[in-house]
């Protein structure tokens, strides 16, 4: 038997219409169709979603943790970029 592992895929689930897909975890699969099946069987058994995305983990370009200071810290003291001066209307849960 081959010792080579199936490629890793990242799984994203849309929990209900109108919301965006969120990362749920990862699975192994031999091809794209199998990845979708495995994502469905692993992550949506308890009605967690209405839509699934899977993508090869190797296709994701990630930021480098070593550069996180340069990437993210300059935004920290720019309070004027945050829309915190507006009142959120009642009944809007997912802004």
């Amino acid at each position: 038997m081959s010792k080579r592992e199936w490629p890793l895929y990242e799984v994203f689930i849309r929990s209900k219409a109108g919301l965006s897909h969120r990362h749920a975890g990862s699975i192994h699969a031999a091809d794209d169709q199998m990845a979708l099946d495995h994502a469905r069987d692993t992550y949506t058994r308890r009605s967690e979603g209405v839509s699934l995305w899977v993508v090869r983990s190797s296709a994701i370009v990630a930021s480098d943790p070593a550069e996180s200071a340069a990437f993210f810290e300059p935004a920290k003291d720019k309070i004027y970029r945050h829309p915190t001066f507006y009142e959120i209307p009642d009944g809007v849960d997912n802004l």
């Binding site: 199936w6 699975i27 192994h28 099946d37 495995h38 069987d41 692993t42």
Partner: protein, 252 residues
């Protein structure tokens, strides 16, 4: 047989098919080749167990003799089970299981689609729920058959042998008897001859994609639907029933 008995026999058979396949799948729990495939198989087994419970509960209501789902599942002997022979065959290797599920589910989806439209409200309601589950199973095993058939030389050869070995059990899927005909006539149930044509087309399409040869129709095994089982069936029942028979009504 009276028409009430024919209906009861028809519903019980549907339950028997679901339960026996559930039991075969349960036997392979913990043996999956990958964690994700393991979960899928266990989910599918539970889907079938759920269908069996619904069919047996309905059968108990039709019979009106105080028997519940457990009585049907655990307190009948082998000749009282009327499942298809295809479903009681030993699991074999992974390719055998894929081939068995593919041949059966290609039929079962068509059967459930027809039952969904039948004029027996109880059966139609169970079928409407079950067909969604089985459509997904079929998609899953169909993709696997293509992967194995159109895979390596070894996987192709073994998948072909699995299909060849199991082909002799496919005749029984469409062998209509008094019970099938009574349900077709009385409740607008599935016409097995019409299903055979649809099944052949569906199976041929996937086999072609999997680069597998469709076997010739030769001698076909039959008897499961009449309670005459293969030698494997007694072992299946013994494992499935011994706990309930040793400790009737046990709970935990």
């Amino acid at each position: 047989m009276k028409s009430d008995d024919l209906l009861l026999a028809y519903v019980t058979r549907l339950g028997d098919n679901a339960l026996v396949l559930a039991q075969r799948k349960i036997e392979t729990v913990t043996l999956g080749p990958e964690l994700e495939e393991e979960l899928a198989n266990a989910n599918f087994a539970l889907d079938y167990l759920g269908q069996a419970r619904l069919f047996y509960t309905l059968a108990g209501e039709l019979e009106n003799a105080g028997r519940d789902e457990d009585d049907f599942a655990f307190l009948r002997s082998d000749h009282e089970f009327r499942n298809l022979l295809l479903l009681e065959q030993p699991n074999g290797h992974f390719g055998d299981m894929i081939a068995r599920d593919f041949l059966f589910e290609s039929f079962y989806v068509l059967q459930l689609e027809a039952l969904e439209r039948c004029r027996h409200a109880g059966v139609a309601a169970i079928a409407a729920r079950a067909v969604k589950e089985v459509r997904y199973h079929l998609r899953h095993v169909g993709r696997w058959l293509v992967r194995l058939g159109d895979g390596t030389a070894q996987s192709h050869e073994r998948a072909q042998r699995s299909i060849d070995d199991l082909w002799r059990f496919t005749g029984e899927l469409f062998a209509a008897d008094e019970i099938d005909r009574a349900f077709a006539k009385g409740f607008d149930g599935p016409d097995l001859e019409a299903l055979r044509v649809q099944w052949q087309q569906a199976v041929a399409a996937v086999l072609a994609e999997a680069t597998l040869k469709q076997p010739e129709d030769g001698w076909m095994a039959s008897g499961g639907k009449q309670g005459r089982h293969s030698e494997h069936f007694g072992y299946l029942l013994a494992e499935m029933q011994h706990l309930h028979r040793s400790h009737p009504g046990a709970t935990w």
